[in-house]
Symmetry: C2
Subunit: 435 residues, 2 copies
């Protein structure tokens, strides 16, 4: 069979990686797909294209020329960001072209619209590279676990945040210091907000939750909290109690509703997820038939993400002749079978909590705090009171609570912060046993 | 659309789990597949079927009646073993019925013949449940990593062996004692040979290697060594040196050839695979674009395996109308594109080695051993000599070597065993850094 001709939008990190992998592994890919896959048109820089070995590829400076090229069967969108990616992708779909993208913001924010258009025009939109880079997590959940009622998933889905937390723990360093170094090493962006404040993870969690539970994409309902307020002390205290602090995206199905949340989380150190360090990603999925499965690998980078993009291309090529009705649905579930389960407000979510405060080293303080927690019907799992440092009259006091609705904890924290014997804010970090 | 009618061969552990999952998750499955999946005919026990909720299902005592039922579109073979499973599956294929199976022996030993028949008759044969139970590892490698040149994979793919090794390490217990207890707890079969001698793992490795490298299934070329000769001492000495002993299936592509081997292996304890304990399975895959990815979960059991069987059913149902030429190839690569790479003899394989021997506690012994290793051009990475126990004149001597061809180590061991200062056999356990 003749090779399939594809158009490549973007020759940056992931676009370059994709061009490289398609060429280097051309034989292996054709042996699997049954035909070759060739980039015949790309945007937008001739010099960069030549450096990537695309000397035979037509290069346009305007990405619209690629999308409009009638020879192209598949458009690979690797520009990133919402605009102009959305218009380019919508135009490709309208022209009957299949789309492969690794753009998490695009899918999380505009996926419902994009998939509706794809169904209308009978084309495929594949997006494995949008979540956890090279880990085939979308395929695993959407197809590999298709027999299950999925109960929850928890993922380390932002490598930058995981790298920062790992460095903070291993070397007892401050957040800002590690972040600064990560920026100099190229592990963190000049503007790290998307990564360390959890927005990137929330994009990915939005997608994972949809394919796990069959709910529409709803990024604006994700509770999102970053890691910038985590201190080396919190990491050390958690360690003394047998926990690691990880920045997790958590999606859980509750009775008729779902939880969607991204926040720092204490997890037991014996849990495999606790051992996922540095820039690596991992997603733990709990489903009713299979139990717990975990998927681990590099969550970003040129070739890991290209691995996912090329896998999508192979799949699109294999499925070119299939009846559109019988393809795997974008969000795992048939579009007319999506659930309208409500996303809980964070105050309605139940979790266990790590609470840290600075309290006067005097009798009665713990009794006051315990009374407030008792009044809110919050049970205490463990208390750790540190020795005062020389010349200090206040001490760090750490409490672990049992599972309780967040609303009650918020109320109790407000009351504790009013106590004259407690100085400053109470630090709250959620805690999950992942069982 | 009307539900798809399937025939179920076998209502034992996995057959029962499959019947249960299909009924309990019927809604979720139909929401994903776009139509229902119903067991209309099963073999072979009415009472068992009723207990599983299959009161509406026709039950035949003869599995051939199920295979011959003209209403059935898909035959699900969960009898296990080679015979009569092979004849039943071949008959189903000849009649134009699709097949889903979790039978690793059947696929590893007869897959080449089965897939050829399936291609001839235009039907699908799906076998996700044959490897690592509920972990969607076949899908991950065959489709999720389709853009990669896969370099090697290493898996803990037999839960019984991993359970025994875990117990031996955690409680410093003997192999035979732990195995006996595992049999009483139902974690090991009455005849545990298939599990602890590595045959079950070799079946699974055969399948994994084919889909990773695009080579035909060749079970008889797998080097297979079990765990029955591992002692608590070896596990403890490995631990002192920073290693865990795991029973691994390893497949590696070398220049124009492949290695296929199942044996106890020292791996660094910092490696995620080293933390996979008890009955859990995990497969680590190294591929050129994505790097290392790991897949973890329960490798056996009623519902974990049913999870894989039902995922295959959903896929078969989705692909019913697809052009057979465009379906995912059974062994990942197109049948006319399989490689004839040779499988290396174990003596040709390169590895590092842990060698343990009992040597006289006297000057010159280490010099003799070092000379023999030097003559075979084997470099020593570490030496540990234990103190003699009270009243003993010989001591355990442990050597770690650098990577070298197995042939040379076999020669050196033979020479060391001739030394008058060395008593008994030299214990050899292979060692991999998995990097």
């Amino acid at each position: 069979m003749k090779p399939v001709k594809i158009g490549l939008l973007g020759l940056g990190t992931v676009g370059g990686g994709t061009a490289t992998v398609l060429q280097r592994n051309a034989d292996e890919i054709a042996r699997r797909a049954g035909r070759g896959i060739v980039v015949t048109h790309a945007a937008r820089n001739r010099e960069r294209a030549d450096a990537l070995g695309l000397a035979q590829t037509r290069i346009s400076t305007d990405p619209w020329d690629v999308v409009g090229d009638p020879e192209i069967a598949v458009v690979v969108e690797l520009i990133g960001g919402e605009h102009p990616a959305l218009d380019l992708v919508m135009s490709a779909i309208t022209q009957g072209k299949h789309v492969v993208t690794a753009n998490k913001a695009l899918i999380a924010l505009h996926g419902n619209q994009i998939f509706a258009a794809a169904r209308e025009h009978g084309v495929m939109v594949a997006f494995e590279g949008a979540v956890a880079g090279g880990i085939p997590i979308i395929k695993a959940i959407r197809e590999g676990l298709a027999g299950n009622d999925i109960e929850w998933l928890a993922g380390i889905i932002n490598g930058t945040s995981n790298y920062v937390l790992t460095e903070m723990r291993e070397h007892a360093r401050e957040f800002s210091e590690v972040l600064h170094e990560a920026q100099q090493l190229g592990y963190a962006e000049a503007d790290p907000t998307f990564d360390v404040e959890g927005i990137d993870a929330a994009h990915k969690l939005t997608i994972l939750a949809s394919i796990a539970f069959g709910v529409p994409l709803q990024f604006d309902r994700v509770y999102t909290e970053g890691i910038s307020r985590i201190t080396p002390d919190d990491i050390a205290y958690a360690g003394e109690l047998g926990y690691r602090i990880k920045h997790l995206g958590i999606a859980r199905r509750t009775f008729g509703a779902v939880e969607l949340r991204v926040h720092p989380t204490l997890i037991p150190e014996r849990c495999l997820l606790a051992s996922v360090d540095g820039v690596m990603n991992a997603v733990l999925v709990k489903a009713d038939a299979v139990g717990q499965t975990l998927y681990y690998g590099p969550g970003a980078g040129a070739e890991p993400t290209a691995s996912a993009v090329v896998a999508d291309l192979v799949e699109v090529v294999r499925t070119l002749t299939a009846d559109p009705e019988n393809r795997v649905p974008h969000l795992a579930f048939q579009p007319d079978a999506l659930s309208d389960a409500r996303v809980l407000d964070m105050e309605e979510v139940e979790s266990a909590y790590y609470l840290r405060m600075r309290a006067q080293d005097q009798p009665g303080v713990l009794a006051d705090i315990s009374r407030i927690l008792g009044d809110s019907r919050i049970s205490i799992e463990a208390v750790v009171q540190k020795e005062p440092a020389a010349g200090e009259t206040s001490v760090p006091l750490i409490l672990l609570t049992r599972r309780v609705q967040e609303r009650r904890v918020s109320q109790a924290i407000a009351a504790i912060e009013q106590l004259p014997s407690v100085a400053g804010d109470v630090v709250r970090i959620r805690m999950e046993t992942l069982e």
